[in-house]
Amino acid sequence: MAQISQDNRGLRLVVRYAVLCLIAAIFSFPLIFMIVSSLKPSSQLLADAHSFRALLPVGDISLQNYFDAFKRAPVALFIFNSVLVTGVTVVASLALCSAAAFAFTFVMWKGRDLALTVILATLIVPFETIAIPLLLEASKLPWIGAGGITWGWLNSYRVQIVPFIADGLTIYLFVQYFKDLPGELIEAARVEGASWFAIYRRVVMPLSGPVLATAAILKFLVMYNQYLWPIMVTQEEQYRPVMVGLQYFFQLNRAWGEIMAYLSLITVPVLAFYLYLQKAFIASIASTGVKG
């Protein structure tokens, strides 16, 4: 009897792993195909698509597609733009949203609860529903630069950065985290005469590592993957980010090898970053759901 149930358990384990592996194959094959194909000439890529060779780096393997992609479009410029826009937005967002959440959590001021309610209410306004009027607004906003006041933000970095610095979700994440910090610490600092800003800088921020990581990862994913907004506001090549740059590869005769190279180029660094910080990524998504 014991022997049979032992076998049964072994078999069950095999079945479990088989199911897990099958699902893993479904989730990973398009990405494996993308990376493998980026190394093949377009003709071989199409021929290989008919067999398992589609997922294997075999045949005429080279980096030629990557060189061709750089020739077809200013790829380096697009990557630079995306990194700049994403980086500045993430840093500014962490600074302003954490400061706001600090004021909402620890400081008493008139209208505080109303302001927080309004900010949390913006969470139910999908970005897609404000994109069109925001486009008109952005086309008319003033900017003070070296040449005095100019009107209109279209075709710039600021139009891709400034509207996304403050958002309800980031503030909400910080507020939730700050609520769980021990209040005595802040009170003690107040008694010793520390200013609010000093408490924010010296007491609260040093304790906020986890929530900073969470907010940074979520903001990074949103900003790097932006598509709808940049196609509307960057008619000029100079300010386009990587996702808009994809349009350079939509030709009548699509050069799939180059497309796969470009897709890999803009995706693999993010995937590598994710696999390296996998636990933090997953924890950050999970933390948006815990308290609901």
Partner: protein, 343 residues
Amino acid sequence: MAGPAIALILVFVIAPFFLAVGFSFTNQRLVSPHPAEFTGLSNYRQLLGLGVLHLDPLKDAAGAVVLDDQGQPKLPELRKITRKNPDYPQFDGMREWFSWSSGEGRTFVLARDVVFMTAIVNTFIFVLVVAPLQGGLALGLALLINQRLRGINVFRAIYFMPVVVSIVVVSLLWSFIYNQNEGLLNNLLSAISFGAIPRIDWLGNPSTALGAIIFMSIWQAVGFHMVIWLSGLQTISPTLYEAGAIEGASKWQTFRYITWPGLRNTAVLVLVVITMQAFGLFSQIDVMTKGGPVDSTQTIVFQAVQRGYGKQDISAGSTISVILFVIVLSVSLIQRYLTREKT
């Protein structure tokens, strides 16, 4: 200290929202030599105008039904009614949306903007399919990944992987997978069926295009909700499961009476979040089909962008935005009401 963030949200979230409401009552354009004028509800009427019309077959002088070439009863021409017909001012400018035979004639449902109606219907189909399917699959994956097995974290990492990839990249990859002649999907299907399954142009065929986009969208986003379910699963106290095991509960009973009640709040959250995201369907459409073939993948947001940005008609785009907002708000209020804590 909250000042800068509040100011930014006022200018870039709240102001545009109210501008959208304002523009929807005007004829505002992105660039125009004329100032915008107040036009009342005409944008809404233009987008949402509907009419029902019943047409009886034509009869000849003797009172017999006139038949057309195919032997079907001949109806009066619809165009003569909807084009500047003084007898039917309410149908002016409308087109047939759909119709059915009734009695001897046909009943027509007319819409002032048939494309937008199609977009609303497609968006609702997308939401109604994606919300339960993606939520359910995500829960299944979460239960699968919540087992104590060696190397389970590797599988969790792989299932979540598509979430960090841009939907634009995913859409382009899948447009290759769905390709009629070279696509991996057709290659796989014809290989496992030894050529019996015909090659389908998944994105070029009106009856499969929306389904193909739905499948891909779930593939990309299901890992996100798997993680949210997983965090919900981990808040359920292990002592409850121990108690269940002592009582001799079956697997299904354990799920039904311990796991599911413990996931209530998570379920509401997942449902609301998926629904909101699904109503925003745009990037997939823009990259893969541009709303085609024959409008079978038109969506509300794609229409808003096409008119507001493509045709620079800010007022029409804003009106669609307001309609979308009203829909999203109503749906989430209904969801909250239906999933409320019953006391």
